[in-house]
């Protein structure tokens, strides 16, 4: 709903009010920024020496590899979660009650507990039980268990939101459950849910910062080391935050572009149906979504 319907075109007095409110609002925001800058400068946090670490090639390399580790773990966990999530969603709609129950229990359990608790259990609990893996796989395991449950919910929502005529038509044509899913429902559901999938990838990427506690050498962990080494704690975290925002915002931008492309009148889902006859294409669609996800940011739990 556009805001303009809510009120008439502002008259002279309303325009003065709006102008005054703008000045006050901008003044408040500006005041906050000014106080922050004065405060930072007063404590020598804006001094040149505190920021020179960002021009040190060795430190930049160190941080870049931290970012690479973050992207790596997010990509692997994202691809695994997509595949498992898709299977779980199919199980939840399967005609076998036991399968439905098992998938629902799995999903609800992981969605109800914090990812960090899971990562603590995996990182500090499993080794005492004799399970020993590189921390990379510990983090992948934790992120995958949680995110596969989220992806399962996204896929399920997508499938359920399709018009019931799609399923009925497929059944009328004599397709079985698996064929209906694979040829008719999933291809449409995946396309419909691309924006949600990407925004969940952004969440996953943000959650990979939890690897800090293991510790996995991702961006945040390397940022902390940099801050201590360069005596620039505040500055190092600011740099880390900026990198996360840049990566996640570009992924979200990519998602919006994809969404806009889908909505173009020329992009007809039906026209792509014949290619979906090949199950590999459905898989390729998923992999494509995964690639997008690697670049996106992770939303709040």
């Amino acid at each position: 709903m556009s805001a303009t319907v809510l009120y008439d075109e502002p008259g002279p007095r309303a325009r003065i009010w709006i102008a005054a409110a703008t000045v006050v609002g901008v003044g408040l925001v500006g005041l906050a920024v000014a106080v922050a800058v004065v405060r930072l400068a007063g404590h020598h946090q804006l001094d040149r020496a505190r920021w020179t670490f960002v021009t040190d090639p060795a430190i930049l390399r160190f941080l870049a590899f931290g970012l690479l580790n973050t992207l790596k773990v997010a990509a692997v966990a994202g691809a695994l979660s997509l595949a498992i999530g898709c299977l779980l969603a199919i199980c939840r709609l399967a005609p076998v009650a036991a399968l439905r129950g098992a998938a629902a229990t799995y999903t609800h359990f992981w969605l109800a507990i914090p990812v960090l608790l899971l990562i603590y259990f995996i990182g500090f609990g499993l080794p005492t039980l004799g399970v020993d893996l590189p921390v990379f796989w510990f983090l992948v395991l934790g992120l995958t268990l949680y995110n596969s449950a989220v992806f399962a919910e996204i896929f399920r929502t997508g499938i359920v939101s399709l018009h019931s005529g799609q399923r009925e038509a497929a059944e009328a044509l004599g397709l079985g459950f698996w064929q209906t899913m694979q040829l008719v429902l999933l291809p449409q559901a995946v396309r419909r849910m691309v924006p949600s999938l990407v925004s969940q990838f952004v969440v996953l990427l943000k959650d990979s910062s939890l690897g800090f506690v293991l510790p996995y050498e991702e961006l945040l962990h390397r940022g902390q080391i940099t801050g201590q080494y360069a005596q620039s704690v505040l500055q190092a975290y600011v740099v880390v935050a900026v990198v996360y925002v840049a990566v996640n915002a570009s992924l979200s931008y990519l998602a919006r572009r994809l969404e806009a492309r889908q909505r173009r009148p020329g992009a007809r889902v039906a026209a792509e149906a014949p290619t979906a006859l090949n199950p590999l294409i459905v898989g390729a669609g998923l992999a494509g979504a995964a690639v997008i996800g690697v670049g996106t940011d992770a939303p709040a739990g």
Binding site: M1, S2, A3, V5, L6, Y7, P10, I18, A21, T22, G25, V26, V29, R39, L40, G42, H43, Q45, F109, L111, A112, I113, P114, V115, L116, L117, Y120, F121, F124, G125, L126, T128, L129, V202, K206, D207, S209, L210, F212, V213, L220, G223, Q224, G227, V233, L234, Y237, V238, V240, A241, Y244, V245, N248, A249, S252, D297, A298, P299, A300, G301
Partner: protein, 214 residues
Amino acid sequence: MNVVLDNLDVFGSGLWTTLKLTALSFLLALGVGVVVATARVCPAAPLRAAGLAYVETVRNTPPLVLLFLFVYGLPKTGVRYSLFVSAVLVLGGYTGAFVAEALRSGINAVPIGQAEAARSLGLTFTKTLRYVVLPQAFRTVVPPLGALLSALVRNTSLAAPIGLLELTARAGQLNTSDPNPIWIYLAAAVAYMVVTLPLGAVTRLVERRVAVAR
């Protein structure tokens, strides 16, 4: 099993901290959300830009980074809060960005004809909002707000790495002194579920109660 039964008071105090943290940060998040959502739809372009900048920055940063910035970075400028207050401020500010987006999309989800009809009946701006648009917007917003609250309960665990002894930190502590991961972490998981699962049920109940048939 014994390790859980012997330490019920430890789990209890952890859960109590988690609940306090959740309640206070959710209140803050609602406040921040209303202010930011208002800024994002107001007629002043610079404020709209500030609202957008806040939402985009906060939503794209891992909350753990924000916490570290606040707890380890801010004291360098002489600003110092207790761990609990820091956690409330960061979690509230972080969740607030999501609340703002939920409120905004709730208002956008009210069909335009509703506002048009109200306006053509002669209702003023405030009356249109109060009697027609907002009551419907709040109903659409119930499920996302419930989901955000549940996410917040789980996100309070992020206070563990900075040293606040909430539920997750308590479980980690117990497991360090007396390694028995399966029982300890299962107990903590159950404690979280005792909070999050009823929350989901209540959200669905409220959603059904207030649902508008269109």
